[in-house]
């Protein structure tokens, strides 16, 4: 016997989410049926609102309700530095430390021909445009991940930006805070030795 159409559709919809297979989707679908009517309406509204009300900021590429985003509009922030990250999630991670007070730029990916991402496919052109139109930016901090692709992207951006006389910096590699040296993996340790600093 087949599931009635509404529930079959719901299962199919849940399965479109990452990390959710047939069994989990079925469990979620049946749970949804048992849910309070108001809660379900709330849930559906949240889904639609998230899609409808969120945009990418036309300046930095971060997700936002208003365009330009709150960070780009905040004049109290340091307008002379831009921190470049791979994903919008990374902006939230940086904001949590409450120490960085400059601006951001979200690339939405890294250069990786294998995944079909070339220089035109990520948000680099808008970064360059931003730097060209705004003399006030003196430093670009590149905070892409420490993967070969993240490194390549960092090097690529630095090559385009540096000739214009803008300072380009990269996040440090090394030991995580509060960790024991004995538990660090060999390459992290090696990078930490390589990037040591004079005291």
């Amino acid at each position: 016997m087949q599931y009635p159409e509404p529930i079959a559709k719901l299962i199919d919809s849940y399965m479109k989410l990452p990390g959710i297979g047939g069994k989990t989707a079925t469990r979620l679908a049946f749970y949804t049926i048992d849910m309070d009517g108001d809660d379900v309406t709330e849930f559906a509204k949240a889904l639609i609102a998230a899609k409808r009300d969120l945009h990418f900021c036309s300046i930095c590429g971060n997700i936002t309700e208003n365009d330009p985003c709150d960070i780009c509009r905040d004049k109290s922030r340091d307008q002379s530095t831009v921190l470049v990250v791979e994903e919008a999630k990374d902006v939230m991670a940086m904001e949590k430390i409450k120490e960085y007070n400059g601006l951001y730029h979200v690339l939405h990916g890294v250069l990786s021909p294998i995944d079909g991402k070339g220089p035109e496919d990520i948000n680099i052109a808008s970064l360059l445009k931003r730097l060209q139109q705004n003399d006030g930016i003196h430093e670009v901090i590149i905070a892409t991940n420490a993967t070969p692709e993240g490194e390549a992207t960092a090097m690529y951006i630095s090559r385009l930006v540096k000739p214009a006389g803008i300072k380009v910096t990269r996040l440090a590699h090394g030991l995580s805070v509060g960790s024991d040296i004995q538990y660090a993996d060999e390459m992290t340790l090696f990078k930490a030795v390589e990037g040591r600093q004079e005291m």
Partner: protein, 374 residues
């Protein structure tokens, strides 16, 4: 180091096996398809968590069973530790001294092994890829940094080859990104070439000693690392990096035209010469075998020099491939130094006389019987 004992549960054709080994030579005697090589494989898997015969771990688990268990007690100069490895549907779990290891890379390197199988004789006359694989396997066991550089190099090489192909088809135009990939490749490539040159230099010294002994000082073996990058004895990593960068810049048009990376350690080769002549092209069968044997024996000594202990040697059916003279050299070289496991359909001739009190096991359908000492 040596393996004191081994317990297998549902590994290949072994349902339950519990066996104690000799610290010298252990001979596995038996007809074909009884499980001789499976036992060597078990020791290899216990050491490196993967097989040298298959990439599919499912094949290692006994037919119609879910998990395989391998346990062994490893004796080292500093004491003995139990090793345990479980292979299952959900992956592998490794324990050292009863403590589970979060990363398999922390487990690998506890037990060092060297395999010598008939295929290894083709290291001299086979394709360059066999020699590159040989270098990567051996040097990777000795240096975690080499292993890391190699994996990064391979990842970047894949991206760069694809990008070159896109450039050659005019799907993309950006040469700046190509320059970035070239620099990254040059950085890791330089590290790899540098480490290869360093370790090959050491391996060569050990191999020369062995080789000259086997040939009664008649022949001199030399290694030559074949690469497009001009190298001298004391080439630094930085110098290699700059040279590679220059080569990539010079060859750019050609690489784009062909749509693939033409320069780097993935294209290099290792050449063996005897008395100045290339063994691959001018050497006799015998010379090629002697060279392969010298290189393998040198590996044992290099491993000892790099890690501080002799590895465990696995000889898979190689005695039959070597003549009496070479068998003698092989067996005297390992005698009383290296714990050795050798598989053979029959033990007679030189081998029987030479091996000092071997422990002989008859392998029959996944069951081992220890032979009474003569």
């Amino acid at each position: 180091m040596y393996l004191e004992n081994l317990t297998l549960h549902n590994f290949r054709n072994y349902a339950d096996l519990d066996v104690t080994f000799d610290r010298g030579v252990n001979v596995l005697l038996g007809q074909n398809a009884q499980g001789k090589t499976n036992l060597l494989e078990a020791i290899y898997v216990l050491a490196l968590t993967r097989s040298h015969r298959t990439a599919n771990d499912r094949e290692l688990i006994r037919w119609q069973h879910q998990t395989a268990l391998l346990k062994g007690r490893l004796h080292r100069a500093t004491g003995s530790v139990p090793l345990e490895l479980t292979l299952g549907k959900r992956g592998k779990r490794a324990k050292v001294n009863h403590l589970e290891q979060a990363k398999l890379s922390q487990y690998v390197g506890q037990l060092n092994v060297i395999v010598f199988a008939p295929e290894d004789l083709s290291i001299v006359k086979g394709a360059p890829s066999i020699r590159r694989r040989f270098m990567d396997m051996e040097f990777g066991q000795m240096s975690p940094k080499y292993l890391y550089n190699l994996s990064q190099y391979r990842a970047i090489l894949k991206q760069r080859n694809l990008y070159l192909r896109q450039l050659s088809r005019h799907q993309v135009k950006d040469k700046v990104y190509l320059g970035v990939l070239s620099d990254q490749l040059a950085a890791f490539g330089a590290e790899i070439i540098h480490k290869r040159l360093e370790l090959l230099g050491q391996l060569e010294q050990w191999a020369q000693g062995v080789h000259s002994e086997i040939t009664q000082q008649q022949e001199q073996l030399t290694f030559h690392y074949v690469t497009q990058v001009p190298t001298e004895d004391q080439t630094s990593v930085d110098h290699l990096y700059e040279t590679l960068q220059k080569l990539y810049a010079q060859q750019e048009a050609k690489e784009i035209f062909q749509g693939t990376t033409l320069i780097g350690p993935h294209r290099d080769d290792l050449q063996f010469s005897v008395n100045g002549k290339n063994v691959q092209t001018f050497g006799s069968q015998g010379q090629q075998r002697t060279t392969a044997l010298s290189v393998k024996l040198a590996e044992i000594d290099l491993m000892k020099a790099e890690t501080g202990e002799y590895p465990v040697l696995l000889l898979d059916d190689v005695l039959s491939e070597l003549d009496a003279d070479r068998q003698t050299h092989l067996l005297t070289a390992i005698q009383d130094k290296v714990q050795t496991f050798l598989t053979t359909p029959s033990l007679d001739g030189v081998a029987r006389q030479l091996i000092n009190a071997p422990k002989v096991f008859n392998v029959n359908h996944g069951i081992l019987h220890e032979e009474e000492p003569h």
